[in-house]
């Protein structure tokens, strides 16, 4: 399939992005992001899908905890708590990514990274 034929006209970028992408600063940002986001994403997907998997294939979540409130409800409520906790953690962590990103724009793009 030819992706070339129907390409729209586009002005050449003013910045040498390959150079920016290869800079240690940018590589560090990508690595930091990946190290933070990947494990948490895997965690929340596993946590989430455990609920329908456990309710579908097992019955032990029906064991009561407090009065008539059983584990399945505790697990369901903990999904809400997990969402809010992860949101808060993300915001905290993301501000350090913001600083790194600003630094990359200042150091790599505005100063050094311009294509000549």
């Amino acid at each position: 399939m030819s992706g070339q034929l129907d390409k729209q006209e586009r002005t050449m970028p003013k910045v040498d992005y390959v150079k920016v992408a290869k800079s240690p600063q940018f590589k560090k940002l990508m690595q930091d992001r990946k190290r933070f986001i990947l494990p948490l994403t895997i965690f929340f997907f596993v946590f989430y899908f455990m609920l329908p998997i456990l309710t579908s294939y097992t019955t032990f979540l029906n064991t009561p905890v407090f009065g008539d409130i059983s584990w399945v409800w505790i697990f369901a409520f903990s999904q809400f708590v997990m969402t809010w906790v992860l949101c808060t953690i993300y915001v905290k962590k993301a501000s350090s990514f913001d600083e790194q990103a600003d630094q990359i724009i200042a150091d790599q793009i505005e100063k050094g990274g311009k294509a000549s």
């Binding site: 992706g3 029906n62 409800w73 809400f80 969402t83």
Partner: protein, 512 residues
């Protein structure tokens, strides 16, 4: 149910309030950017509330309350899936989307490809999702308003249809956003009031509520256990996949991220939205339990077999006619805010992607684009109203989860590949989009949602060829697989362009 004066007055107040909003919004809508994205000028909390207003449809408000009232724990599955979806949005989608796109999903994907075919495919999937979601909303709205106000179905659809057209046509995204913000505030107020009154009946003891709700329904103790409605493990898991992955691909939700100035504001709007939506879905539990206890199964089913009247009837049972009127008005505002957002995202796919970028090659003047956007909004509205009028007697409730399924199968793979996969190319983009879209559509068309041996339970009578009501379990992997195969079969690669996309997506840098 007869028309009640309080209901009529509150209903008119909402109509007047939203028209005033539209009047002021129209004066501020000068450019195409204002029309599609409110000029990118919303603050984080404004956009967060607007996301909540865009997202919490009548299906969430009335549908989930009814589902919990009738099916106990199984109704609550929806609440969980719809909320956790925002972690996908926050962690993987919102910030790169804001950094790369301008008005539409196709803009974001074309930040990497500049190919008309890819833009066309993205616009096609947007339009498909909008259309299905819209028909479900309008048919539901017609039936609901008919019940609440005692007017004919076709008049109800026309009222909602005309209102949404006015908001979008004159006030664009500014009017739509403020209608959504107003609705979010009203809806949350309504939810809190009802939940408070329900809890008051149990002296704010949640444990007592659980104990007593066991005795009030015909299900007995099973009401509190999973498995009343979803008995097939794979069906349940498939539904949960569509719920959690679909939101991050819904065009009207994605579009909301272009209404803020940068990725950081996009992030803070997801946070506001997630708190609001999370509290909302927790409260659906009190509405559901309350309705089961104080309205009762037989009365809920008698008013509407789908359980959609559970929340308004509960309001009447515990708060009298005034609260009933208020909740009915909130339901009306809820519908208006959601359909307005849908019209706008449908119009952007037609006018910006198909007309402005593909036909006019991005060279249309601002005036032409604005005109095209308004014509498209009008066309989308009229077309959906006509479809909704014909679909009155059809069982279209499955269209909401189908829209989520298409969004998860066709849009999410291409979004993730565009941002995170170096080798991804135009061929892969098209195969990802089409394999996700077609597999979702084809599998649903032969599923129990469309064919049922029981007359009236689905669109047609017959045996389904595919066992899952929601095909996400199969169609989402097919979307990802299609994109993978398309990419490796084509030799084309553009590492220079990917470097640009990667830098822009992660730093928010824009060339001025």
């Amino acid at each position: 149910m007869k028309m009640d004066m309080t209901v009529v007055i509150l209903f008119l107040l909402i109509v007047i309030l939203t028209l005033v909003i539209t009047y002021f919004a129209a004066k501020r809508t000068q450019t195409t950017g204002d029309f599609y994205t409110a000029g990118g000028g919303l603050t984080g909390w404004q956009n967060g509330l607007a996301i909540a207003g865009d997202y919490l449809s009548a299906a969430s408000f009335l549908g989930i309350a009814g589902a919990i009232a009738l099916n106990g724990f199984d109704g609550f599955f929806y609440s969980i899936g719809f909320l956790i979806a925002y972690l996908v949005v926050l962690f993987l989608v919102a910030e790169p989307l804001r950094n790369l796109g301008k008005y539409t999903l196709a803009d974001m994907i074309n930040a990497r490809f500049d190919a008309k075919k890819v833009r066309g495919a993205a616009a096609l999937s947007t339009i498909t999702i909008v259309l299905f979601y819209m028909i479900a909303q309008l048919v539901g709205a017609g039936a609901l308003i008919q019940l609440l106000f005692g007017i004919d179905y076709w008049i109800a659809v026309l009222i909602v249809g005309v209102m949404m057209t006015i908001y979008v046509l004159f006030g664009g995204m500014i009017a739509t956003s403020w209608v959504q913000i107003t609705k979010a505030v009203l809806l949350m107020a309504g939810m809190v009031i009802i939940s408070f009154l329900v809890l008051l009946k149990y002296n704010f003891n949640i444990s007592t509520m659980f104990t007593e709700v066991k005795t009030v329904t015909s299900h007995g103790a099973d009401f509190l256990k999973p498995g009343l409605k979803y008995t097939e493990p794979l069906g349940t898991i498939s539904l949960m996949i569509a719920l959690v992955l679909g939101t991050a691909g819904l065009p009207h939700i994605l579009m909301r991220f272009f209404t803020v100035k940068d990725a950081r504001t996009a992030r803070s709007s997801v946070i506001t939205a997630t708190w609001t939506i999370g509290i909302f879905y927790i409260l659906t539990l009190f509405l559901g339990f309350g309705a089961a206890a104080f309205v009762g199964h037989s009365d809920i089913l008698a008013a509407n077999p789908g359980g959609n009247m559970a929340a308004p009837l509960l309001a009447k049972a515990i708060g009298g006619d005034i609260l009933f009127a208020f909740i009915s008005a909130v339901a009306f505002a809820t519908i208006l805010a959601v359909v307005a957002g849908l019209v706008l995202s449908g119009a952007s796919a037609f006018a910006h992607d198909l007309y402005g970028q593909i036909m006019k090659k991005g060279k249309a003047t601002d005036r032409q684009q604005m005109l095209a956007a308004r014509y498209a909004a009008l066309a989308v509205s009229i077309f959906s109203i006509i479809l909704a009028l014909f679909a009155q007697t059809l069982n279209v409730a499955f269209l909401v989860s189908l829209a989520f399924c298409i969004a998860a199968s066709a849009n999410l793979p291409i979004i993730l590949y565009t941002v995170y996969w170096k080798k991804f190319n135009t061929a892969g983009a098209i195969t990802a989009m089409l394999s996700g879209l077609l597999s979702a559509l084809i599998l649903v068309s032969i599923s129990p949602s469309v064919f049922s041996p029981v007359e009236g339970a689905a669109l047609f009578v017959g045996d389904p060829l595919f066992p899952l009501a929601n095909p996400a379990l199969v169609s989402v992997p097919l979307g990802f697989l299609g994109g993978y195969i398309g990419t490796i079969l084509s030799k084309e690669q553009d590492p220079v362009r990917y470097a640009e996309v990667k830098v822009k997506a992660n730093t928010g840098y824009r060339e001025s």
